[in-house]
């Protein structure tokens, strides 16, 4: 085993210690209660602050633009890479380009996520542009969580872009979660699947107050026998606005299914635009979409079990958003 290494500035003793707030952010976006096992790269306010690599997973700082290259060796099994981003300053726009090469027949978990704590009056923004190459026969689970807090008026903005090339027989599972505190987000996700490749995307989104969220997911089923399932669930409260655009393209004998459900409350707005496009006679594409309020029967059922109306509503929303 190659010994754990850290980024240069850490070696020089310049490591900025993670404080209690940073740890809270890490917990929210990456379920991390302590420094993670395995490979990781923690980025804070536009700079890498802590990194670890393993014998099978290397992380290299990009030379031409901000960001990292993550290399997972072929046949790596059961390892994880955590790349959380913390933004605790106001008036910052952090753009980062990360590239992942997930080696053939490996099986890894990548947890990305961004936590913004903005107590100021000016905007904090993080745009993460992630490119994945999931090689032949590999399995990747990619989890991306977004979380914001802070009582200032400064906007918390996240605009992630994720592009994934899924090679022959590879399997990708994507979990995209934004539950709290992000004022504005535009999320672009583009995925291409080769022969026998498989994709499952689950998206969970909650907006409230005056928040705005847009999610655009394009999936191209290029290879024969590829398949994709996209399950999107969202809750829009108060005056928030949500907009979804799904485009499922079948270019071969392939199967694709989009299921998007939104619960709409108060004065919120939800727009969902489905598109399924077939360029092959054996492409089977299905889109199901529903927007509606919480059914009164659901509330009544939980209230007949002793829950208050508020508790019943919370239980339904919590279950719905997983």
């Amino acid at each position: 085993m190659k010994p754990a290494c850290v980024v240069k500035d850490v070696k020089k003793g310049l490591v900025r210690m993670l404080n209690a707030l940073d740890r809270l952010m890490l917990e929210k976006v990456a379920d991390l209660h302590e420094i993670p096992q395995g490979a990781y790269n923690i980025r804070k306010n536009g700079e890498g602050v802590q990194r670890n690599t393993t014998a099978n997973i290397d992380i290299v700082t990009k030379k031409d633009q901000p960001g990292i290259d993550v290399f997972v060796k072929p046949h790596t099994q059961g390892e994880s890479v955590h790349i959380p981003v913390i933004v605790t300053e106001e008036d910052i726009t952090d753009v980062v380009y990360n590239t992942f090469d997930i080696g053939e027949y490996s099986d890894v978990l990548v947890v990305a996520g961004c936590g913004i704590h903005n107590s100021g009056s000016r905007k904090s923004q993080h745009d993460g542009i992630h490119n994945f190459f999931v090689r032949k026969g590999a399995r990747l689970k990619y989890v991306e969580k977004h979380y914001g807090e802070g009582d200032g008026k400064g906007q918390r903005v996240l605009n992630p872009k994720t592009i994934i090339e899924v090679e022959d027989g590879a399997v990708v599972e994507l979990e995209l979660v934004q539950i709290k505190g992000i004022d504005s987000t535009v999320r672009d996700t583009e995925i291409r699947l080769a022969e026998n490749a498989k994709l499952v995307v689950t998206e969970r989104l909650l907006t409230y107050k005056d928040q705005e969220a847009e999610s655009n997911i394009t999936v191209e089923l290029s290879g024969a026998n590829s398949s994709a399932q996209i399950i999107s669930r969202s809750v829009a409260q108060d005056h928030s606005r949500q907009s979804f655009y799904f485009d499922l393209i079948g270019r071969n004998k392939a199967r694709g299914h989009i299921q998007c459900d939104a619960i709409i409350m108060h004065e919120a707005t939800v727009r969902s635009t489905p598109r399924i496009s077939a360029y092959h006679s054996e492409a089977q594409l299905v889109h199901e979409a529903a927007i509606g309020k919480i059914e009164s029967e659901q509330l009544i059922k939980l209230m007949t079990m002793g829950l208050s109306e508020k508790e019943a509503e919370d239980t339904i929303l919590k279950g719905f958003l997983g």
Binding site: I300, L302, M303, G306, L307
Partner: protein
């Protein structure tokens, strides 16, 4: 124990009177079956007891306390339970979570595996499943019944529990009704068209046109129905106690 005094209910929009001056007293530790033709007001009466509907006039008393204006949640906390005829589904809530929520206020330790067994479902196969459209109507009905069995209730109302229950589990269900009745001293009200369910009851209540047209012991009513006198159905009905049923 539970008394309805001249309870009427009129739908505001259409001014249709669904329940007409119902007087009903349910005694502690008894099993009641409510039967009668469709549209006779059986489910409305059940929902009135649960607090889903509030009477236009009249009072509802539980152990002498006026609960007419109490909400559904408050009545639930007082020990009233209701199993839906068409139980709602929940995306993202697992069978186990729903049953645990149901059992949360039961001071007795409830074994969720046993609950599912009592309604004829294998816990291993169902606990992890979502209570959503992936479950059949029959499965939903059984889980619904289990959510009521999970609670320690004074009054439990089951709205057509037999739908979707096969013969084997029907027998099991009958035993379960009897056992919770004995275990918690629960007064059980079952809305049903099935003679086999009516057989479980101490008393049968016949509802027609929003009124109780007859309330008597099981033997008297069943005998009456067999003689085609007590049933006011004007036409044959497939599942119930209609003419020639």
């Amino acid at each position: 124990m539970l008394e309805l005094e001249k309870v009427s209910w009129q739908v505001e929009e259409t001014e249709t009177e669904i329940l007409r001056s119902i007087d009903l007293t349910l005694a502690a530790q008894k099993i009641y079956a409510i039967t009668g033709p469709n549209g006779g007001g059986k489910s409305s009466l059940a929902k009135m007891i649960m607090g889903v509907y509030t009477p236009t006039s009249g009072r509802i008393l539980l152990d002498g306390q006026d609960i007419t204006q109490l909400s559904i949640s408050e009545r639930a906390r007082q020990g009233i339970g209701y199993a839906f005829q068409n139980p709602p589904r929940f995306k993202g809530i697992k069978v186990e979570e729903l049953l645990k929520l149901a059992a949360a206020n039961n001071p007795e330790k409830v074994n969720i595996y046993d609950l599912l067994y009592d309604v004829g479902l294998c816990a291993q196969d169902y606990l992890e499943r979502d209570v959503d459209a992936s479950l059949s109507g029959g499965e939903m009905k059984r889980i619904e019944i289990a959510t009521v069995l999970a609670r320690n209730l004074r009054v439990a109302v089951f709205d057509e529990p037999e739908a979707g229950i096969d013969l084997w589990s029907f027998q099991k269900l009958a035993e379960t009704f009897t056992s919770i009745h004995q275990k918690y001293d629960t007064t059980i009200v079952i809305i049903s068209h099935q003679e086999r369910i009516l057989e479980l009851a101490d008393e049968i209540i016949l509802m027609v046109n929003g009124k109780i047209s007859l309330q008597s012991t099981k033997d008297k009513i069943l005998a009456g129905i067999l003689h085609n006198e007590a049933c006011l159905c004007s036409e044959r009905c497939e599942k119930g106690v209609g003419q020639n049923a």
